[in-house]
């Protein structure tokens, strides 16, 4: 099967998955969560006004019709308006995507590159003091709560030393840069621990393979073996690990965006959850599931490209 027909066939899987996700969302929000009108109308809601609003939101229509609306919005991306802010949800998502990406993309890219380099480095010194020290540091970094890094970074680096902005965001390049520097650093500190441990394991799995011994016996340098042979063969788990994280980058970083007042998708989602803004939560759930499927397909295709042994079926 060629790559195009394989991709097409995998993309068709999006349809049943979206239908299933829509059903779960519909059941959770429409049947389990109950009537949202009291929350939307606030402390002065009257019974008649609640009934009017229920009618206006279409909540008094048959369940099947309401389910069809959720499915339609999943395929057309017309998610309607936020119950809380009355804004077009698609516009909200468009506006939030860029601030999220200005934080998450560089942070993810830098932390991945750093983690791969460190893991190759410690694999080179496997079992030695450097390896043990790095693993210890990684475990230590992972053991501290993300909130502690955020609070400390904000207080010490931004407030006390004045090296960064405490919080905020300015749109447009390069104005956003000072505001995302500290969150990027914190993101890197947070992810470098688990990433290094994962990549180190992957590299060590490869390093004991026969082809590495062969390369060594041929007299190749350790650097060439690591970067040219081991890294290439370790690419499949690395690609899986990296690509599957990308949909979550698009969705933003909830805590970092909230603490640093970055108006991204993470803060939109958090705000929607706090305000019981079901249409926004529905939209974010549907989009994240679609993004997850698309990146799964992309991951499979990448396997084929980086490893000729992989066959698409």
């Amino acid at each position: 099967m060629n790559i195009y027909s394989y991709t097409f066939r995998r993309l068709l899987y999006v349809i049943p998955v979206v239908l299933g996700v829509s059903l779960i969302i519909f059941v959770l929000f429409n049947l389990v969560a109950g009537d949202p009108t009291a929350i939307l109308l606030g402390k002065h809601a009257s019974a008649s006004q609640m009934a009017e609003l229920r009618h206006e939101l279409g909540l008094d229509r048959p369940w099947l019709a309401q389910y069809f609306d959720v499915v339609r919005s999943a395929f057309t991306f017309d998610f309607g308006r936020s119950w809380s802010t009355k804004q077009e949800i698609f516009e909200m998502i468009k506006a939030g995507a860029i601030p999220s990406l200005t934080l998450s993309f560089p942070a993810f890219f830098l932390s991945t590159v750093l983690a791969i380099i460190v893991s190759l480095f410690v694999s080179f010194y496997r079992g030695g003091v450097v390896d043990r020290l790095v693993v210890f540091v990684c475990v230590a970094l992972m053991s501290i709560s993300s909130l502690a890094y955020i609070l400390f970074g904000q207080w010490f680096l931004a407030y006390y030393l004045g090296l960064f902005e405490i919080s905020g965001y300015e749109s447009g390049f390069p104005y956003f840069i000072p505001y995302v520097l500290l969150p990027i650093i914190i993101w890197m500190v947070l992810s470098v621990g688990p990433d290094v441990r994962f990549y180190r394991t992957v590299v060590l799995d490869e390093i004991y393979q026969d082809y590495v011994r062969t390369a060594r016996s041929k007299g190749l340098s350790e650097r060439v073996i690591l970067f040219k042979h081991v890294l290439k063969n370790a690419m499949i788990p690395i690609i899986t690990y990296v690509l599957i994280k990308i949909p979550f980058l698009i969705l933003g970083a909830l805590l970092l965006e909230s603490f640093f007042s970055i108006p991204g998708l993470g803060s939109i989602t958090l705000n929607a959850i706090n305000g019981s803004d079901f249409p926004v939560i529905k939209a974010m759930t549907i989009l994240s599931s679609i993004a997850y499927i698309l990146f799964s397909v992309f991951t499979d295709v990448m396997y084929c490209l980086v490893d000729p042994r992989v066959r698409l079926k």
């Binding site: 009291a38 006004q49 804004q87 506006a95 407030y159 803060s267």
Partner: protein
């Protein structure tokens, strides 16, 4: 090693260069930097049902009336109205003259982009918008059943595809270009307060028609500040309205404000600021740090920073005083309480309610949850408004464990024997849960068993509305400075989904409320309010908690700042001393 040094230098250079991109704003302009803690719901007055949206809307839009900035108790004064209204002898017809020459802000919705003059018809249109059944405004309750013919108009169009704004409503009349008349369907003395609320602020039909559903992102009012386009972001930037009418800083004030020198700017044209930046910072740490760095001009003290900012018995901490920061303490018009569900037969037993009230240690709760800053509530009406009885002590205000035990025995449950476990519902936030646990511990002292149930806010509201709770902890903040707004919480016919969530229904109380609610502000009405307030204390429909106080810090360069429960529109009175700001910020 040299490589490492070079790399460090490079990174330092990069950070330094990037720091140059910080937008600090124009230092020569008077800019106020504010902070709010939640997203704004958009800029349409009819949806302004929370304090944040209220305040943002009031920077651009205005209403017929407003609260005097420098007077306490709160006093209504004309804003867009040209004087207070003429009220008919029966108290049902209000005739307003509106100011001439007031312009809507410039916008492409108007011919040649120039804002037109405000006329009486705009108020009729705006109130019909508030009543429009298709728009589902969140402020309909303000005028629901109050204006003659308006409910019928609303009902008529509920099931029709389009609403006809041209159809006349008996209670909303334009007498001439600058005269407006409201006829009420029943006496409602609080009507004037409604006209000071952002829900009733005036909008222009052309702008609503031009932007349609996007109107909430295109605020065009008559107010002191302009916001060309509202975006859901972390910052809202307003500039001075160049076509704002001649409105002056007040020349009169309550004695306490006169004494504090708040009349220094008397007679100066408003607004005093050139620019207003509203930063949305949800988390408390960055809010607090930004304030300490001088990037925010005033701030409500976050709970976690209270102990470092305020020293008990002394006031503001020295390190903050040295920075020129001032502490402002103002009682809030609110009440916290634990309500009994009066549909539950168990709570028909007044001795049980009194016993539970008598064991509750409100002062300890105050220390634990409000840093000891709140005032113990003796009944439902907070201090600062007519109806609160100065010096009155609730006879069932504890803690008095012996008396509580005695009352519990009288109720038929000696030491709690035979009493089922009572569920205490609350919201799922950490503080609410802690308050629930504290309540449980208090009740244990007399053998009353409590089970704390935390709920997500929507579920909590739903349970109260459907009255599937036994008791629940909640608070109420004033919509307007009138005891009626608090006493209605105990008026039987107002049971949920109305504001009376506990379903308390007492015949005498209801009759008194009914009589008082249609009376003008007279000593007789105050006497009725006081009587109801005492009754509420004695009948124990709720276990009364506290009236909170707001603790606000502001920097030395901020002028004219006063904390208010009704702070819509107050930014126009604030000012920034640029010289002082430069001097004080140098030391931060």
């Amino acid at each position: 090693m040299q490589k490492m040094i070079n790399l460090t230098l490079l990174v330092s250079l990069l950070v330094g260069t990037l720091s140059c991109f910080k937008s600090e704003g124009d230092g020569s302009k008077k800019t106020l930097n504010m902070v709010i803690t939640a997203k704004v719901k958009g800029m349409d007055p009819i949806y302004a049902n929370d304090r944040y949206s209220n305040n943002e809307i009031a920077r651009v839009y205005e209403g017929l009336l407003e609260y005097h900035y420098l007077k306490r108790p709160y006093e209504l004064i004309p804003n867009l109205a040209d004087g207070m209204p003429k009220v008919s002898a029966d108290g049902r017809v209000y005739t307003f003259k509106i100011k001439k020459g007031v312009l809507f802000q410039n916008d492409v919705a108007f011919p040649a982009g120039k804002g037109r003059e405000l006329v009486a018809e705009d108020f009729v249109y705006s109130l019909k918008r508030l009543a429009d059944p298709k728009l589902q405004s969140l402020g309909w309750w303000v005028i629901d059943g109050k204006i003659k013919g308006l409910n019928e108009w609303r009902k008529k169009y509920a099931d029709l595809p389009k609403v006809d704004y041209g159809e006349e409503v008996e209670g909303l009349k334009v007498i001439d270009r600058y005269t407006l008349q409201f006829t009420l369907s029943k006496n409602f003395p609080q009507f004037l307060y409604a006209l000071a609320m952002p829900f009733t602020y005036v909008v222009a039909k052309e702008v609503v028609d031009k932007y349609g559903k996007e109107f909430l992102n295109h605020p065009v009012g008559t107010g002191a500040f302009v916001l060309p386009r509202f975006e859901q972001s972390n910052k809202i930037v307003y500039t001075r309205n160049p076509t704002f009418r001649k409105k002056l800083f007040p020349s009169d004030a309550s004695p306490e404000f006169k004494k504090l020198g708040y009349l220094q700017d008397a007679g100066k044209p408003l607004p005093l600021l050139d620019k207003l930046i509203v930063n949305i910072i949800i988390e408390s740490q960055p809010r607090w740090l930004n304030f300490q760095k001088g990037k925010v001009d005033y701030i409500g003290i976050p709970k976690d920073n209270f102990d470092s900012a305020v020293i008990p018995g002394k006031g503001l901490a020295d390190d903050l005083s040295k920075l020129g920061i001032t502490l402002n303490i103002t009682p809030s018009l609110d009440v916290t309480y634990v309500a009994f569900n009066h549909d539950n037969k168990l709570f028909d037993n007044i001795a049980l309610r009194r016993a539970m009230s008598m064991v509750y240690d409100v002062e300890r709760g105050n220390k634990l949850f409000y840093n000891g800053t709140a005032l113990a509530a003796q009944s439902v009406v907070p201090p600062g408004i007519a109806g609160n009885v100065n010096g009155y002590v609730n006879p069932y205000r504890g803690p008095n464990i012996n008396l509580a035990k005695k009352l519990l025995a009288e109720a038929g449950y000696p030491n709690g024997k035979g009493l089922p476990t009572i569920t205490y519902d609350t919201a799922s936030s950490t503080v609410s849960r802690q308050q629930g646990e504290f309540f449980k511990k208090q009740m244990e002292q007399i053998g009353v068993k409590i089970k704390v149930v935390t709920n997500p806010w929507p579920e909590f509201q739903r349970k109260i509305t459907n009255r599937t709770v036994m008791i629940y902890g909640i608070a109420w903040g004033a919509d307007y400075p009138d005891a009626e707004n608090f006493l209605q919480l105990l008026y039987g016919p107002n049971r949920s989904p109305g504001a009376n969530g506990s379903g308390f229904n007492h015949q005498t109380f209801n009759q008194l409320y009914k009589s008082a609610s249609i009376m003008q502000d007279t000593p007789e009405r105050t006497a009725l309010y006081e009587k109801m307030n005492r009754m509420a204390a004695e009948l124990v429909p709720w276990i009364f908690g506290v009236h909170r106080q707001s603790y606000v810090l502001f920097h030395g360069w901020l002028k004219n700042y006063i904390q208010s429960d009704f702070d819509a529109g107050v930014a126009q009175y604030l000012d920034v001393d640029l010289e002082k700001k430069k001097e004080l910020r140098a030391g931060m």
